[in-house]
Structures are given as C-alpha cells and as structure tokens.
Symmetry: C2
Subunit: 373 residues, 2 copies
C-alpha cells in the first residue's frame, strides 16, 4: 500500500486551541535531538523551569512541564493530592469543572459540587457556604478560565476563601496562562496545570505544572501510594528536580521541550504584562467587529476572557452552524470553535491566543464571517 | 533575564533511545499545524492507525498512538485490564518487568512474580508452573525486548502458554517494534504498548498501542471505572475510533503525529522484513568490532536483541565507566547507554535503532571506543 506525504493546508486557528505556532517555535522543534539525560538537555530543563516560574509568577521549586497534554496535567494534580475519602469542593461552570469531578471520583475522593450556570463565573457565596458546611474539606478545585464558555472566575478571591478555611487549591490555567494575569504566589494557589497549545502557542502535548511547598508536604505525607505510576510526583521529581545525576523516569519528549523553551523565551522577550495587554487590546477589536455583525457575548463584560470569545448564535445561524464552520474551514482556511457539551450548537468560540492574538487575525475572521453569514 | 536560543550539538545517539531522527521525520514536524478535529487531521489519524497495524502485524481495530510516552502506554494497558483483586503473573528479568509489578499493585491487582536473572530470557517452565498453581490468573504480563538488558524473550511461546490457561497477555514492545519480528495476530497477544523513540526513530512522546477484540471485551465488561481518566480507553476510543463526528477527549499532539506518520511511512517503504534484516546485519558488524576490542555480551547469542547490545565491562573500565561515557559524549558527540538498576556500572548498552541502525554508526562507535579505552 502506498501512503502519500502529508501536507496540511495552512490554516488560521481561531478555535479554543491549538493556536497557530510562531515560526521561531516551529523551527526550534527540528533542532538536533539529544539524549534525555544529556548535560545539554538538563541545562535546557533548568531554563524551562525558570521560564515557567516567570509565566506563573511563582517561586515554586516544583514547576515543570508534564510530558503529556493538559488533561493529564489535571489528573496529575488530583491523583497526587487526593486520597480515598478526601473531601474536595469542585466548582462546575463548564466542561472542565465536570472533568475535575470525574478525577476526584476516580481517586476515591468525595466531591462536593458547586454548580453555576455555564457562562457565569463561580459564585463566591456558594463556595463559602460549602466551606462552612464542610469544614473538613481538603481541597477547593476550580477552573480559572473555562475554555468551554469563555468565562473568567476570580482566582484570588477563591483562593482567599480556601485559605481562610485551611483548604488547598487546585486551579486549571490551561487557557489563562500568558493570556490573562496569573499571580500564583501572590494568590497563594497550591497546584496548577496548564497546556502548551493555548496562549503559549506551542504544539499540543505538554502540560506545565506548579506545586506549592504546602502541596508538596501533603504529597510527601500521603498514606497511600499515588494510583498512577506515570504521574506520581515523587517519581517524576527525581528526574525534574535531581541534580547532575538525575534518575531516569520516562523519556522526556525532547523536541517538544525545545518548542516549549522557545515559546517561553518569546513570552519573556515580550514581557508577561505586554502579552496580557495585547490579548486584551485585540479582543476589544474583535468584540467591535462581532457586535457590528450583530453577535452578542455569552459572558458578561466583566468576566469575559479576551483569549476566548464565546458568542451566542442567532436562530438563523443555529440551524446550520456546523455547515458554516465547515465552510469557513474549507473556503477561508479559518478554524473557529463549536460549542461544547450543553452549549453545543448554541455558541461559537473564537480564540485569540498567543501568536494568534493579532489584529490581522481579527480582520480575517470578521471579513470571513461578514461574507459567509 | 536573558535566555539564549538553544542550539544542541549534533550527536550520534547510540544509547537505549531516543535514537536519531530521519531528516524526513524532522521536516514533517514543522508542517502547518491544523486542528485536532480538522477533517484533514482525522484522515491522518486513519492512516496512522493503518500503518501501526502493519508495524504490529495485526488487524486489531483499536490500534493507535497514545498521546504520552511509553511508560504511560504501559500504564494504559494495566489500568484498563486490571481490576482490584485480579491476579496478574508478571515476569521480571529487568527494569521494565519491575515497573509492570508497580502498575499491577497501583491498580489494586495481585501480582504473582516470576523472576529471571537479568540478561536471561523469561523461563517458560516457571511461567507454566505459576499458571498451573494459579488457574484464576487473569493476565500474563511480560517484556518482549528488555531495554535494560538487551534480552529477547519468546513472545509466541509465552502467549501460547497463556492461551492454554485461558489468560490474557500484556506485552511490552517498546524496544522491539520495527527492530525484530512482531506478529501480534499470529501470536494472539491481547495488549501491547510501544514507544516512538526507539526503532521508529521518532521524537519521544507517543506510545503506539494495540488491543485485541478479546481484551476490549474485558475492558467493556469491567465492574469498576478505570482509575485514570486520561488513559480510560472507553473515552479515548471515542476520539480515535469515532466516525466523522469524533468526540473531543484531549487535544492530540498534532505535530508529533505528523512525525509518527512520516516515520511509519518510511518503515512501510523499506518494508518490515527489510527493517528487521537491517537491524540484524548491522548488529553482526557491531558484534565483530566489539569482540575485537575484547568486549563480551551480557546475553547469550540466541536471545540477543540486535537493536540493543548490552556488553560487560572489564574491571579496568568499570572503575571509570561514567567518565568514559562522558568523554565519548564530549569529545566524539557519541551517546551510549549506561547500565540501569542492578546492572548500573556493570554494562554499557549500545543501541542500533531505526535510522541509527547503520554501518556508519557502527564504524563511528568502534573507532571512538578503540581510541578512548
């Protein structure tokens, strides 16, 4: 059987991720492969950890990229911190909160669910009531930037609440990292995970993680073994935190690490604050264009994510929204995102992430939409 | 803080993996990124599945690459097939058998351990005795090609034994895939995992998997949920096996899939049998050179892996073997592998894998060794 060379069309990715990749990052991936215990690679690992600390605004020693996608990053946080019987308050206001609940259950934990309407931020009052009613809660878990709805929740206030009830926090930053402010240490968040393919504009496949000293103490004092061997931080740490004689755990995805390093270097050159400002500025342009076309947003202005624009579909579009997205992809090489779960068929999700958060992309998207609908 | 562009030295990787990457594969990685639900990508996924079926010599419908390294592939086999209380016979004749035992335990299973000396193949008699003594054994787990010792075990006979006791099989093919014959269907193996960075000469980060119908039935009839969300095949399948409307599970590592496709395409062009023959021929040349230098092999001739040559270190080398490897890397840009676990400091592991299984590499290695020792 004959297989042809794969030559994917050049596309503008304005969905919920993956986003387009900076040519510098693309180029970095095909640099010479070296061994995963090579001194040159270990130096690179150290630089990546430093740059991730900058991106998360943290001094956490255990800050590194997991060798798997963001959903494995989520699982890593839960399997290491949750033991059977542990109570975890899980805030659900979209798809990814629901996934957190699944994770708690699969760890044998006891999830206490706080639900908010999809598209609205997490209600602090409900969280406080749940904390009051369950003083033995171990962890408060929430999504900072819900990729399924485009809503931002108040991470600082959620963490303050958790701390005042002596509770750990797990925060999903898959879509927020580099797109909107994150101040891990200032906010005193205990465990976070992210993804490489959103505002870092890297190929998908890696999940940046960071754990506070507090969280690490809890991991070290576990009564039971972590159920996952691959995600067991006590083992992974021996590779990522060892000195010059690091212990082999698994073979790190070398070339993906080159890409992550280059994307973090680009972020460092631009500056975090400038990256946040750029996402905001470009979002405002997109908003103007979308409103001119008659679209309105799912999320209230004050909780809107600039990097993920969830827009409500008028009835005339709803009926054939999948066909319109397919045409955008086919005729304009433009990908925008569908609604997920309960919002499937009701919204579109337009991403402006990392390298893709540009005025050019805004123009392309608005022009294509105005022609096609 | 200033971070420099990372420019790794060009090196010849003759360790236990990662191996050097074919320039065609390197180039493929930096092709345009497209979405993980894009019709073009779904077509690529189908081709990858077909090519992996060829590589494993199977018709198994569920044959796909997991979006994580080989050790996560191992875990995927165990968490899906083992339920609490299940008896699993685990053959340990190296590091990776030991890891299998860890996996069984973390799934709540009951491992029955069969140990063989490191460097010898799995003893069929011991396996048969264990099967006789434990007629309720659910799974026989073994490593086809032990990366830590360079030994090959008789997969066909092990599978025959398992089948005659109505037992499933889990086989590690991380180092064997494309390097020595694998006939999944002929041998009736139920679950296998591999790695992208060995004889496929791809960047590390993906784990090709294949499950028989038999194994899938067991997964479907589980009494308990799979403890891992990320590795739960019932969820992963909805993405990899869905028709045109695939369900989102996680964001696949797009560019890594481009690389895997290209490496499988190269394997298909050469032909599996030719690839096996090339590994064997090149190994014989290396053997000649090593024996001329006075080295002998850890493993008996009939069980030796051509792609991973474990050689015993004479006393004069033992005392400073780490320094010699460091010099090979520094002065000759040549990486060879250290011993792992119980064999640390006692052997070297010289890999001839995929793109790296070439007469040029043999010459370079023998010349460097003859100069330095």
């Amino acid at each position: 059987m004959k297989y042809n060379s794969f030559n994917p069309t050049q596309k503008i990715l304005m969905g919920p991720g993956p986003s387009n990749i900076d040519p510098r990052v693309m180029e970095s991936m095909s640099k010479n492969i070296i061994g995963h215990l090579d001194p040159e690679f270990i130096e690179l690992m150290n630089e990546i950890k430093n740059l991730l600390r900058y991106a998360f605004q943290t001094k956490n020693e255990l800050t590194f990229p997991l060798s798997a996608p963001g959903s494995a990053g989520m699982e890593t946080c839960f399997v290491n911190l949750v033991e059977p019987g542990d109570k975890v308050i899980v805030c659900i206001n979209g798809v990814f909160g629901g996934r957190m609940k699944e994770n708690v259950e699969r760890c044998g934990g006891y999830p206490i669910i706080i639900e908010d309407k999809w598209g609205t931020p997490i209600d602090l009052n409900k969280v406080e009531i749940a904390l009051k009613q369950n003083p033995d809660t171990k962890i408060l878990a929430f999504v900072h930037a819900e990729t399924s709805t485009g809503v931002c929740s108040d991470a600082m206030e959620l963490s303050n609440l958790a701390k005042s009830y002596d509770c750990l926090t797990i925060m999903d930053t898959v879509t927020s990292l580099a797109g909107i402010p994150i101040h891990l240490d200032e906010w005193k968040i205990d465990a976070v995970y992210s993804g490489s393919q959103k505002c870092l504009s890297c190929p998908p496949g890696l999940s940046p993680l960071s754990f506070s000293e507090n969280a690490l103490t809890v991991v070290k004092n576990r009564k039971t073994k972590v159920q996952s061997w691959f995600m067991d931080l006590s083992l992974v740490m021996q590779y990522w935190q060892g000195g010059s004689s690091r212990a082999y755990h698994h073979t790190a995805p070398i070339n993906a690490m080159y890409a992550l390093y280059e994307s973090l270097r680009i972020l460092n050159e631009e500056g975090l604050e400038n990256s946040w400002k750029r996402h905001e500025a470009v979002h405002l342009e997109l908003k103007k264009g979308l409103e001119n076309l008659g679209f309105s947003f799912l999320v209230d202005e004050k909780s809107r994510l600039p990097q993920l624009n969830a827009i409500l579909l008028p009835d005339k579009i709803k009926s054939n929204e999948a066909e319109i997205r397919a045409r955008l992809l086919r005729e304009y090489n433009l990908e925008i995102g569908a609604g997920l779960g309960a919002l499937s068929g009701k919204i579109w999700r337009i991403g402006l992430m990392g390298y893709g958060a540009s005025l050019n992309n805004v123009k392309t998207c608005i022009n294509a939409l105005s022609e096609i609908i």
